[in-house]
Symmetry: C2
Subunit: 308 residues, 2 copies
């Protein structure tokens, strides 16, 4: 079974959408990535940090999904990273109400010994120096390294971001970030420029408009499933990344054809994520539901046309 | 060979994009629809009106593509409908600089005798009373009637729009218009409500984000081809509609499976339209280019995943 190491935040989120409001619930990039990946046949572990206020039950929720949490450092006298946000009526825009870094401010990632030889490495959205630190703790290069990032790091830590990006195989970013990173409006041109920064594969997430995969001239597009209702978009991008890397790790195949399936798997998992608040849907999701929705993705996209 | 009747504007357009500026060139919904449909094996004719200022060469351009222009009335002492617009840098937004209705203000459509029995009828974006007038001039119901409209008619002629929409099989509108028409943000819910207004098939155009086809619970998605450069988006929506109805008419098959192919054909033609100013690209496009790009659409969207 492939080993998948996931680095990223494990956090408290408080979310307000037009449909309701939560208290502090389980959140964070590594949480969503690992829960999405848990639906595939992989052995995954998280490297992260939380405070003494982080409930044991939250860690148990992850353990029950066969996610190794021994790499989540607990700073007993510290507080867990906390984010709160409020979505606008159309759910396409949100305001961040609170960002308390807390223990994340001095995070020094420590990869547990039994995860220093992962087959797949997913660097969730974090300070690029932390992402680089993790790469350096792994003596033998994994089969595939993927990285997620955001505009904040482009604005504030550009040089460190460029250093770590040069070392990865896949980058996942959203459309606005791809435009900012490349200075190109056309996503085709943006991907071409980002290729030159290092990653052979560029995955551009367009939210409700789907995701594009670029690989030196080849392109593949996965739509988002058209849904009657989006309940809470929090974590959809990370869930997409987790479904993507989880599928690749479980199939142990990094060909472009298999990456297409991985992008579809990411879109599939993300389509469930937004149906309930936070991680709820990832926790109760069944294999059968996933397979049924894959069938919907096929119906949505597959056509047969005469090319003669 | 199927007969396709197209009703819509034939116009002068003056376009300004970040890449350049045109004088008065050939434009109008019926022009784009008929040129896109001319790439399929159909016998098509236009019902429209122009002024005495409309150059004979423009009509000849259409005739050379086997488009029957005998239904384009020429009001010798009138002026042709004129639109001019300027696109913003990202080409996703535009400002209308001029709209001179001219002869269109009193347009009374007259379907020529030899086109009163079309197999397919495409009602381009026009006053809904004009669209209804054309329907009433056709004694026997065509195999399929499609209609395009816009927010202007929703704002100003809602009741007349509802009357004509109740009589069509397919409506093509953009995402914002679908939301306005239905009062629903979710496009799935919007399509459900629009179904109830009459059309069995709802095609929602999302510009650079592709197009969705809905048919009572079934959905299909065609992406827009990711392009390095969009030169001029004018007419892309009408070209999409022309590729869609042209494909349906040439195959004489209105099953949902064939509508999927028609939506892909529409996206295919639209991807060429935006490569040059106005109708230029539609005029020089070859069968081989269309077939090659269909292959690109297949590569972009087709995947093979194990559903076991």
């Amino acid at each position: 079974m492939s080993k998948l190491l996931i680095v990223g935040t494990v956090a408290f989120d408080a979310i307000e959408t037009p449909f309701g409001k939560t208290n502090k619930i389980l959140g964070g990039a590594a949480t969503y990535i690992s829960l999405a990946a848990s639906h595939f046949n992989v052995e995954s572990g998280i490297v992260s940090v939380v405070g003494g206020d982080f409930p044991k039950e939250f860690l148990q929720k992850l353990n029950q999904k066969n996610i190794d949490t021994s790499g989540i450092e607990i700073i007993e006298d510290g507080k867990t990273f906390f984010w709160s946000g409020k979505y606008h009526n159309d759910l396409n825009a949100r305001d961040t109400l609170t960002t308390e870094l807390n223990v994340l401010a001095d995070f020094e990632p420590k990869v547990p010994k039994h995860f220093q030889n992962p087959d797949f490495l997913m660097l969730g959205n974090l300070h690029p120096a932390v992402q680089m630190d993790v790469i350096q703790q792994i003596p033998q290069r994994p089969k595939l390294v993927a990285l997620d990032t955001m505009n904040f790091w482009m604005d504030n830590t550009w040089d460190e971001l460029m250093e770590v990006i040069a070392k990865v195989d896949v980058i996942t970013i959203n459309d606005e970030e791809a435009r900012q990173m490349s200075g190109e409006y056309s996503l085709v041109k943006a991907a071409q420029k980002i290729h030159k920064m290092g990653p052979q594969h560029v995955v551009i997430k367009k939210g409700e408009h789907g995701a594009l995969l670029f690989n030196n001239g080849d392109a593949f597009f996965a739509p988002a499933l058209p849904l009657e209702e989006v309940f809470d978009p929090t974590g959809a991008g990370d869930t997409f990344a987790g479904g993507f890397i989880g599928y690749l790790a479980s199939t142990h195949d990094v060909s472009f054809e298999n990456m297409k399936r991985a992008v579809i798997s990411g879109s599939n998992l993300a389509s469930f994520c937004v149906e309930k608040f936070g991680t709820e849907r990832m926790l109760d999701l069944t294999k059968e539901e996933i397979q049924n929705r894959l069938q919907e993705f096929k119906q949505l996209t597959q056509f047969d046309i005469d090319l003669s």
